[in-house]
């Protein structure tokens, strides 16, 4: 267990087919069991980093590496990264009409098993029901079509539900708090905390604009991203400073 859970080195990336890098040399280490908050102004590259970690095809990595449990994942397809233990909670989850959450999640769970193996249907149902109770979700939710006609809050809760069922080693939460009212935020935060308690090795990279969610999920490390780089890292108190003073005090890295 010497290597970090996630180690990003000199990562540079751009939108495929376009000029101009969005990530301009990101360095970040996240150890097992740690919660890191990634903050920063709009357009600083936070969400791009999340998508690049998960392997979004629209982005091209031009330099650097992403090591997950010591292995370079840049050559892996998104589904291979998922099965390896990386989970991305989407800021804007896609809608899949006609596919129920239960069916979708069962397929996702089965994709992690060896060929020909299938998870016991009743066992799966029990797990799903239990996780839904934890997230205070109505049992009928499982039969709804994935994100189809969901409110913003329902979508975010659905993301955390998937994380709870799939049990990744690393959860990247991309603005899971945005658009949530305070009650929904508490439910989601408690869900994440419960997952951390259940799996002490779980690593979380929590991307957020606001300090609000950090009142409920205690970060071990806070990073600030500015113009495609980590401009500052520190303890939980860094978030307080950002809340009070904004981002202006941070030195803008030289623009390219």
């Amino acid at each position: 267990m010497s290597e970090p859970l996630l180690s990003i080195r000199g990562l540079r990336a751009k939108v495929e087919g376009e000029d101009g890098e969005i990530l301009r040399g990101v360095d970040l280490d996240l150890e097992r069991g740690e919660v890191h908050a990634l903050m920063g102004p709009n357009g600083s590259g936070k969400s791009t980093l999340a998508k690049v970690i998960a392997g979004h095809p629209a982005y091209e990595v031009t330099a650097g590496e992403i090591l997950f449990e010591g292995e370079d994942v840049l050559e892996l397809e998104p589904d291979e990264r998922s099965r390896a233990g990386i989970f991305l909670a989407f800021q804007y989850p896609a809608e899949i009409p006609g596919v129920s959450i239960a069916n979708f999640l069962r397929t996702a769970v089965n994709s992690r098993l060896d060929e020909g193996e299938e998870m016991d249907v009743f066992g799966f149902q029990r797990t799903l029901t239990e996780k839904m109770e934890m997230l205070k979700m109505d049992p009928g939710f499982a039969t709804r079509y994935v994100n189809d006609g969901f409110s913003g809050g329902e979508k975010k809760r659905n993301e955390i539900l998937q994380m709870a069922v799939l049990r990744p080693a690393l959860g990247v939460l991309d603005e899971t708090d945005s658009g949530l009212d305070i009650d929904a935020l508490k439910v989601v935060a408690r869900g994440v905390n419960r997952l951390s308690e259940a799996d002490e090795a779980l690593g979380v990279l929590l991307i957020t604009h606001y300090k609000r969610i950090l009142n409920y999920i205690q970060p071990d490390v806070v990073h600030v991203m500015m113009a495609g780089r980590i401009a500052e890292s520190g303890g939980a108190s860094l978030a307080d400073k950002l809340e009070a003073e904004g981002y202006d005090w941070l030195q803008q890295p030289a623009t390219v």
Binding site: H56, E77, P78, D79, I96, V99, F104, T107
Partner: protein, 471 residues
């Protein structure tokens, strides 16, 4: 992620059931069409004189009508029609039980992948093999209820008056060129009669299969559902790959009497060189309900618009259809509803999937006659494009002569997006699984209306096609 490349690998449209079981036709007409062929068919079937006259008149009507200029490309069809056989008879007599069905035909069922248990469950099957019913066993309870479920030939032979009373009343010979052609050379199909007030719980099923190169298939089905009766008829078929163009032109006529309910389900999966031009129409009387559930996979060109003529007050018609157009295929499908009485209601739901150079068109007609007060109709058509090249069009025709009518039309076109694929893949599904899931989800509103074994078959078809072509 090179999306287009992977979609090409999925090959949903490549026909996997391209086997040919060696057949032994007892009678084989010469290719092409003539009044001699028509006489031969009628003589062979030992038909009454009026039917021969009907056929010969229909042949004249067929010759007198021009090839349609709308819909799909029919320019090469005349050549095809010169080469096909208009009548084939694989066996001399009808089979009464499963044990009597010849082994090679059982092999065909076997290759269709119908498991043993499911075959037994298909107990009440009337199966059409080539142009003739070969297997047709009726459940005893149906006979006790007075339900008639026969081949169309037996219907004519055994119930001549009933047959003649309704035959060609819903789809007249002159309705369209292909209805006329079918009227001249029809062979095979079902005759169904549901007596007044009888409710048939188990669907009446006809599983049939076309299996001779260059063979024309002109099945004719006539269904009468008496007052207050209820039934569900299912027709499913799959065909092997041919080396030359093939042709299918059926006519389905249904009469739904006062207060009756009838549902007609078809899943057709034709080989890629098939012209599939079918006329399906129901006459729906007062307080009656008719539902068409129509699935079209495969074929070179399908032109098919199940219709409901709502002729009685408060009659209701529904058309639920799904079409899949793979490379080189054109699915021109939709539905027609004619509101000819007050307070009639209708719903058309059409879903199409296009891939590669495949093209799907929705073509629908909603007509409300003057005096059909309070008529309501709603049309929803959704198209899913699997890649950049695939194409879809919508041709809704609305003719309203009644100002109290209420008509709704909604059309959506969506493309399987990178975001949807990425989302599913980010949960561990590989690209083929992710694509299959999006497609299954899209057709779910139709699939959930199917009886379980057909829903399974539909999903199995899609899954088999996808499994074999990835990795």
């Amino acid at each position: 992620m090179p999306q287009n490349e992977t979609i090409a690998e999925l090959g949903l449209d490549e026909y996997k059931y391209g086997f040919v079981t060696e057949d032994k036709p007892v009678f084989k007409a010469v290719p092409g069409l003539s009044s001699d062929i028509v006489r031969q068919i009628s003589r062979h079937k030992e038909e009454p004189e009026w039917m021969l006259d009907f056929r010969l008149k229909a042949l004249d009507v067929y010759y007198s009508k021009p090839m349609p200029k709308w819909g799909g490309d029919l320019s090469k069809l005349e050549d095809t029609l010169d080469q096909i056989y208009f009548y084939l008879k694989p066996q001399d007599q009808m089979e009464r039980s499963w044990d009597d069905v010849p082994q090679e035909i059982k092999d065909t069922f076997e290759k269709l992948g119908i498991p043993e248990a499911e075959r037994k469950a298909l107990a009440g099957v009337g199966a059409q093999y080539e142009s003739e019913m070969v297997y047709h066993s009726l459940k005893e309870q149906w006979e006790e209820q007075g339900v008639i479920f026969e081949s169309i030939e037996d219907g004519l032979a055994k119930h001549p008056e009933l047959f003649r009373q309704y035959f060609s009343t819903v789809v007249p010979t002159h309705d369209n060129k292909f209805a006329a052609l079918n009227s001249a050379v029809w062979s095979g199909g079902s005759f169904v009669y549901i007596p007044k007030g009888v409710k048939v719980e188990i669907p009446l099923q006809a599983y049939f299969r076309v299996n001779a190169e260059r063979m024309g298939q002109f099945e004719r089905t006539l269904i009468i559902c008496e007052e207050g009766a209820e039934a569900h008829y299912i027709e499913g078929c799959t065909a092997p790959v041919y080396s030359t163009d093939s042709f299918h032109s059926g006519v389905i006529e249904i009469v739904v009497k006062k207060g009756a309910r009838f549902r007609y389900t078809t899943i057709q999966n034709w080989s890629n060189n098939m012209y599939n031009l079918v006329t399906q129409r129901a006459l729906v009387h007062e307080d009656a309900k008719m539902e068409w559930l129509d699935g079209n996979l495969g074929s070179k060109l399908t032109m098919k618009y199940p219709s409901c003529f709502l002729v009685g007050e408060r009659a209701h018609g529904e058309i639920l259809s799904i079409a899949y157009a793979g490379d080189g295929q054109h699915q021109d499908t939709g539905g027609k509803v004619i509101h000819a009485a007050p307070n009639t209601t209708s719903q058309i739901t059409s879903k199409s999937i296009s891939k590669g150079l495949g093209r799907s068109s929705y073509r629908g007609l909603c007509k409300v006659y003057d005096g059909a007060e309070g008529a309501k109709s709603n049309v929803e058509c959704d198209a899913l494009l699997l890649d950049e090249q695939s194409r879809t069009d919508t041709y809704p025709y609305i003719e309203i002569d009644e100002n109290t009518a209420s008509i709704g039309h909604e059309a959506t076109v969506s493309k399987v997006g990178d975001e949807q694929l990425f989302y599913l893949m980010s949960r561990g599904l590989d690209e083929a699984e992710a694509m299959a899931m999006i497609v299954r989800g899209f057709i779910e509103p139709v699939a959930k209306e199917l009886p379980l074994e057909y829903a399974i078959e539909l999903n199995r078809l899609i899954e088999l096609e996808m499994e074999g072509s990835v990795g």
